[in-house]
Symmetry: C2
Subunit: 124 residues, 2 copies
DNA sequence: TATTGTTATACTCTATAACTATA
DNA sequence: TATAGTTATAGAGTATAACAATA
């Protein structure tokens, strides 16, 4: 809980540097290059209603970071792909998000590895 | 980062059970009974502008969960205190927030203790 | 002069309900 | 009949700027 609450301000301030919202960052993070993502999958991952995804993608598409394409398998579905600009931002975003906090230095290298391993096991 | 993003949906859905927003939950969590909190301190903890706190507290006060009181030390400052109803909700909220996720069972008791210890050291 | 909190404004996020196109 | 996405609507979060009261 403390970790979660302490991170509440981090994503918003990082997002602001790119003139994005936290939710928009989350969408960009979800779209791995080479794997088009159905909009419904985004709604599931963000735990939000499908109608929100419409607005989020509207704004990302207007900024030229994402494109909607009809799915060949099911014509009701639209899949999302990053543009070149979107991929660039996503890369920088992930670099920044994964850069460890200063306080990680309080742990030894071995303890850091252990922490990552334990978190990985309860998250997968 | 994964932990942070994976928790994105948790607080909103828990908050919804109490008909609160995530930000309102965060405010209630900040106000420990017996320690009145200046509104500016809330803005700092939430990493948001002071004007947002006005609106958040307006709604919490309208629901009878929080009260504003002028600070005796500095008459510009207003401090926040929980009402009896606010304390009840805060207690239940914290119980629910601190209940461990199902996947914690994947770790042994010793590993769980270790994880908590490591997180504690990088958060304090 | 600087700071605390408020107000006014604008934009984004969010859910609900009704709708269209497709399955 | 059910599902994916859109639209319309309403309420809440957020930042900026201007303001009042106080320091």
């Amino acid at each position: 809980m403390q970790l979660s609450l302490s991170q509440r301000g981090n994503l918003p301030s990082l997002a602001a540097e790119f003139e994005l919202s936290p939710a928009q960052c989350h969408v960009l993070h979800l779209i791995e290059p080479g794997r088009p993502v159905p909009m419904g999958e985004v709604a599931g991952a963000l735990s939000c209603d499908a109608s929100n995804v419409t607005g989020l993608v509207d704004r990302l598409e207007a900024r030229g970071l994402v494109v909607r394409q009809p799915s060949p398998a099911d014509r009701r579905v639209k899949v999302l792909t990053l543009t070149a600009a979107g991929r660039r931002i996503r890369t920088v975003l992930i670099e920044r998000l994964t850069s460890p906090p200063d306080t990680l230095g309080r742990l030894s290298t071995q303890e850091q590895r252990l922490l990552v391993e334990l978190l990985r096991r309860i998250l997968e």
